[in-house]
């Protein structure tokens, strides 16, 4: 049974094209049903701002593909040629290799970003709700979650932060350790401030004060998030009180001078202060960083650090790729095992093993059994076992669907380690 993925991403298609093929969470159920009707056996749709991908499985790929394209161009009302120009089609092994890479963030624009795994899980859930995912895609996706988890724990591909807010928190932790008893001041009420503020809150930073030259805007931002608004005139008092300052205003001249910080530090008895200045032009005089126990990072410092972290992630992604290779190989092997003929002989081997073991036990207990009885017992057990197994084997021969094969493997406890892996994830 072939598995395939058809789709586009930020590498193959410009944003105008990606926009056209974007599928919102609300329309996914309708789309997967439409695609299902076009003749594929199973399908899952993954759509994020950087990619739209259709995972499907069908008995005959060539004949199904045409109808599948038609269904797609009908849904998105676009030309078939246009679809071919920006998209890729991967089959079999390449399909799950691709999905493993996608889910673990290795195919993302920002390598190692963690959101994609959640999006893949959502896509899978939506398809299961509509019953369009079946035996094969279930297995592929469960394995994918497994691989993504393994990569997250065994490599540092998502380890160092690259976003401004996350780096600010990371640095603050280097200075202060615990942040829940630390106070933060946000200067400005723009979008960057709001993003940072929400992130700080999520990370469990203690009290957050907001100040802005137009007090009204500070108050508005405080209402929308959960900060404490303070008038701009209180700046010096606030600097004495807080530990971390994030500044992002449109001011043309620095708001915080070296002299001011120097005075504040004396009042604070040199308790450390951490400034993050993401404004251009800068809000805080750069020489503030020269003061003792004061640390200042401006937007360029953060960008440079972000670049460095990104290249660390790229270096780590080599390790992650070799994990993907390893898992692809294991998964391919497992898929091959689903072939029905080996299964039948495996079942016979297994039952024969049980039969001969039990027979031996009995014969050991009754040492003075004569040859005649022994022979009869052997025949008897053989015929019982064969009669019990026969219906199962017939079922496999007549209806070798993967689900039946899978069921048989479970019934006769023929699962291998890899299989148990997937199962334990499923339970967890």
């Amino acid at each position: 049974m072939p598995i395939a993925v058809f789709g586009l991403n930020h590498n193959t298609a410009p944003i105008e094209v990606r926009e056209r093929l974007f599928v919102s969470e609300e329309t996914i159920p309708r789309l997967v049903r439409e695609l299902q009707e076009s003749g594929v056996d199973e399908n899952i749709v993954l759509s994020t701002c950087n990619r739209t991908e259709f995972y499907f499985s069908c008995k005959n790929l060539d004949s199904a593909l045409d109808k599948f394209y038609q269904a797609l161009s009908r849904h998105f009302s676009i030309e078939k040629e246009w679809l071919e120009k920006y998209t890729y089609l991967l089959t079999d092994e390449d399909t799950y290799r691709h999905l493993f890479l996608v889910a673990s963030g290795l195919d993302s624009m920002v390598v190692g970003e963690p959101q994609i795994l959640g999006q893949v899980k959502d896509a899978y859930r939506l398809a299961t709700d509509c019953n369009t995912s079946g035996f094969f895609l279930d297995k592929v996706f469960h394995k994918t979650f497994n691989v993504a988890k393994r990569i997250r724990t065994e490599t540092k591909v998502g380890y160092n932060p690259v976003s401004i807010s996350a780096m600010a928190i990371e640095l603050a932790k280097k200075i202060f350790g615990e942040l829940k008893d630390k106070k933060t001041l946000v200067i400005g009420a723009g979008e960057m401030c709001e993003i940072a503020l929400r992130y700080f809150k999520k990370e469990g930073v203690g009290d957050i004060y907001i100040t802005n030259r137009t007090f009204h805007n500070a108050q508005k931002l405080a209402d929308e998030t959960t900060g404490i608004p303070r008038p701009f005139n209180d700046l010096q008092d606030l600097l004495e009180k807080v530990d971390m300052i994030l500044s992002s205003t449109g001011s043309e001249r620095p708001l915080i001078s070296r002299e001011l910080v120097s005075v504040v530090m004396k009042k604070r008895k040199q308790k450390p202060l951490f400034f993050i200045d993401i404004a251009v032009p800068r809000d805080i005089e750069p020489s503030v960083n020269d003061l003792e126990n004061v640390y200042l990072y401006d937007i360029d410092d953060l960008k440079e650090l972000s670049q460095q972290h990104l290249s660390d992630r790229l270096a780590e992604s080599e390790k992650a790729r070799s994990i993907v290779d390893e898992e692809v190989k294991k998964f391919s092997q497992w898929l091959r095992q689903l072939d029905k003929n080996p299964l039948i002989s495996n079942i016979y081997e297994k039952v024969e093993e049980i039969r001969s073991r039990e027979l031996k036990k009995i014969l050991q207990k009754n040492k003075n059994t004569d040859d005649e009885t022994m022979k009869n017992m052997d025949l008897l057990t053989k015929s019982i076992v064969n009669k019990l197994v026969h219906p199962h084997v017939t079922m496999i021969k007549e209806n070798g669907s993967p689900a039946i094969l899978e069921l048989m493997k479970k019934l006769f406890r023929l699962e291998d380690d890899d299989e148990q892996d997937v199962d334990s994830w499923h339970k967890g």
Binding site: L171, K174, I175, F176, P272, N289, Y295, E304, L305
Partner: protein, 270 residues
């Protein structure tokens, strides 16, 4: 009895190996093994020191062998004590090798028990030496804490981080450990000096004779006194504390070893 010391040394060395391995492989299990062998080493070392006390009949801090051994014992003990309240496993990777080296040096030196010089036969011996050496070992630990502090602080200021620094405790934690070292170490050092002076008064007839060891221990005491005073009044924290701790460490080192090897004087039996 010497065999017990050797067992303690082996345990310290095993702990050193695990802590150095922990530097390369960031796994909790490795650290736990290092911690466990350090703790066992400490216990065996403590027992063997008690044995020596009973065998010799006096507090075994009377020569270089004994005092180095006692110093490494105190360092191991104080490090284990600090580990109870701070996540400072990475510090083990410098402190454990260091105290193992100190202990190796101690065992290298002649360790035979000799009759005690008459001037040392006093009840002041245990009080003076134990206080002084506990104080010293606490400040030895804070020396390494300060080095960690300075290297992390430098990284944050210059915006360049070494890969290992991501595993350091935060500046605030390192500084608060230094503060704790200060508030434990200073009283011990002070009592060590005062009891020494009282003992000198009784043994030599003069409380203070400006012998080089006395002078240098006073200098050490002044370094730490300045630090504590300025920390409490004008907030000498962070880098200044770390620099003073390092200065204090070298001052202790000179008082303890430099005087014996370079200068001599009344304390030269140590």
């Amino acid at each position: 009895m010497f065999i017990l010391f050797l067992i303690a040394l082996c345990l310290y060395l095993v702990s050193t190996i695990f802590y150095l391995l922990f530097l390369a492989i960031d796994k909790k299990g490795i650290e736990a093994l290092g911690h466990f062998s350090l703790l066992s080493g400490f216990i065996v070392h403590f027992i063997s020191t008690c044995f020596r006390y009973f065998q010799a009949g006096y507090t075994p801090i009377t020569n270089l062998h004994e005092s180095l051994s006692f110093l490494s014992l105190c360092m191991a003990g104080f490090f284990l004590f600090l580990k109870r309240s701070y996540k400072i496993s990475i510090l083990g990777s410098i402190i454990v090798p260091f105290l193992s080296l100190v202990f190796i040096w101690a065992l290298w030196l002649p360790s035979d028990i000799k009759p005690l010089a008459p001037i040392l036969q006093s009840y002041w011996l245990p009080v003076h030496t134990i206080f002084a050496f506990i104080g010293n070992s606490i400040f030895f630990i804070s020396f390494f804490v300060s080095i960690l502090y300075l290297s992390l602080e430098r990284g944050i200021k210059r915006k360049k981080f070494s890969p290992i620094s991501t595993r350091f405790p935060s500046l605030e934690v390192l500084d608060s450990i230094n503060y704790r070292c200060m508030s434990y170490g200073f009283p011990f050092l002070t009592i060590g000096i005062i009891t020494g002076s009282l003992w000198a008064g009784m043994a030599w007839g003069s409380y203070w004779s400006w012998d080089p060891k006395e002078t240098w221990s006073l200098i050490t005491w002044i370094v730490y006194a300045i630090l504590i005073h300025n920390r409490l009044t004008i907030g000498w924290r962070g880098r200044k504390t770390a620099y003073m701790m390092i200065a204090g460490f070298f001052s202790i080192l000179f008082t303890f070893l430099g005087i014996n090897f370079l200068v001599g004087g009344l304390h030269s039996y140590l």
